[in-house]
Symmetry: C2
Subunit: 193 residues, 2 copies
């Protein structure tokens, strides 16, 4: 069992509806030491990919992505979820549906910040149905850049997202894959990796 | 002139309507080395405050706040802007209006992550009218915690936010205060601090 799986067992809470609450250390209150440890682990797993840019989506992916970008010594770009008056000019836009919020968002990245020479590592905190990741892949491919890989903190292995992205041939690394959760007993079963 | 002011002059772009675009290094694409340098500077300015928690608001404040929290070796909490199905139970809620997006948001922090013993440093990337900061102050005070200070990357000195917060007696430190901008000439005038 790795450090993230151990932390999930210690501080994660299983709620009805296949909700895994990790808001005390991952996506509301954040343990920066844990973020840095995840950053180092993703750096190790994608060390041979000559990453030039880390891409994530607001908001809770940003902290992990900062730690990853620091390890690779490259810029971080975060996709925005709705059109802002401060974003103008040419933009890559993908439409995605949020599993958490049950609404559709436009995922937006300024064309200035992705180009054909970029070798992109996509980072996010959660992978469930994978709509957000599909949007980030779509935007990266549209720019002519290469998706070198995807790094996820927690993948819900009983939802379709991870399988779809692996089927598409991308290198997807999830630090913890939850295959089963039981809200009554609080039990969490991780996939052996 | 400090490192942030120099960077704004180098890479910031003045747009009509008092918009300062810093999306190439601060709030869309992010220069992690710059984030860390800001983190160290805020750590220096609030070193005597025994900070126990860093508080920010999604999304673009998170990267700077990560670097600040690392320097203080304390957790980071980021306030959410709308009710999420993953946030439940008791929450502190403040209503704020965004200058950028021209809409009202509820700013939400779970009661679990702020308590009366906390000495809070509030961090954000921009201060204009200060509505977001007022929401974060309101939430912190409601929890019984102490607002030890507020650290901002870029303050628009020609808007009311900074003055209001200083008038209320809070220690507010902005790394760059823009007093005048000219979209035609691109000129930016910083306040002497």
């Amino acid at each position: 069992m790795n450090f993230l799986e151990e932390r999930i067992l210690k501080d994660g809470i299983v709620k009805p509806g296949n909700v895994l609450k990790v808001d005390s250390f991952l996506n509301h209150q954040m343990d920066i030491e844990l973020m840095d440890r995840m950053g180092e682990e993703f750096h190790r797993r994608f060390a041979d990919k000559n990453i030039t840019k880390v891409l994530t989506i607001e908001a809770s992916g940003i902290a992990i992505a900062c730690s990853v970008a620091r390890c690779f010594n490259v810029p971080l770009v975060f996709a925005k979820k709705s059109k802002s008056v401060n974003i103008e000019g040419d933009m890559y836009i993908a439409e995605v549906e949020s599993f958490t919020h049950k609404n559709k968002n436009q995922v937006i990245v300024s064309k200035k910040f992705l180009n054909a020479d970029d070798r992109v590592l996509i980072i996010d905190d959660f992978l469930a149905n994978g709509c957000a990741l599909q949007g980030l892949i779509s935007i990266t491919e549209a720019s002519g850049a290469t998706v070198e890989g995807l790094g996820i903190a927690i993948e819900k292995g009983f939802q379709i997202g991870g399988q779809v992205i692996r089927n598409l041939g991308y290198k997807l690394e999830s630090l913890a894959i939850v295959d089963e959760m039981n809200a009554e007993t609080g039990e969490i079963k991780f996939r052996e990796q």
